[in-house]
């Protein structure tokens, strides 16, 4: 028996998921104390989303 997994994520959902998972990995790898890790994860996630949305808007004039 084989189970097939399938996801249909929107662009925003995919970006959020990617940013969250990578931020958590970076936070755990680069910081030792729990508080520092949380701060790093939140800051990294914020920058991922800010830059992602920013690049999206920067490309908007050329999208059509």
């Amino acid at each position: 028996m084989s189970a097939t997994i399938a996801f249909n994520l929107s662009h925003l959902q995919a970006m959020l998921l990617f940013a969250l998972v990578i931020s958590i990995a970076f936070g755990f790898l680069s910081r030792r104390k729990p508080v520092d890790r949380v701060k790093y994860i939140v800051w990294s996630l914020f920058l991922f989303l800010l830059i992602g949305v920013g690049i999206g808007w920067a490309m908007y004039p050329f999208s059509r």
Binding site: S2, T4, I5, A6, F7, N8, L9, H11, A14, L17, F18, V21, I22, I24, A25, F28, L29, R32
Partner: protein, 138 residues
């Protein structure tokens, strides 16, 4: 008179420690998080296992492209190397993706990036475990 321009003598390399660090790196590459687990860095081990696992799970579920060794160009080869970085999870992704890749949709394209990111992230984690085993960082 001594030669003042001569470089200072390098400290002796502890070969046992180097071999141990290499073994840790290989273990961390084959099973994400195992390198840190062997060093008793439990939080990092679980984080590596879960994050690489999640990226592979979602990447395969979104029907991302899993590159093979018979690529046509340099990008295929780079993609294959990135995918291989996930170690045993590369084969897990292959077994999960029973329907094959579908990059005609944005989902499939994102899935390809997720799988490549999982591999590169695992390589980064293995390198971190290697450095930690050598005592350079913790």
């Amino acid at each position: 008179m001594t030669d003042e321009t001569a470089a200072p003598e390098a400290p002796p390399v502890d070969s046992k420690r180097e071999v141990f660090a290499l073994a840790i790196a290989v273990a961390g590459w084959i099973v994400p998080g195992l390198g840190h687990a062997l060093l008793k860095m439990w939080g990092r081990a679980v984080a590596c296992l879960l994050t690489v696992g999640l990226l592979v799970f979602f990447g395969a579920g979104m029907r991302g492209n899993i590159f093979t060794s018979g690529g046509n160009d340099a990008f295929d080869t780079l993609g294959y190397l990135a995918d291989l970085g996930a170690g045993s999870f590369f084969f897990l992704a292959k077994s999960l993706e029973t329907s094959g890749p579908d990059v005609s949709r944005a989902d499939g394209d994102y899935g390809t990036r997720f799988l490549a990111a999982a591999g590169v992230l695992n390589l980064l984690a293995a390198l971190h475990a290697y450095e930690a085993a050598r005592g350079r960082k913790a």
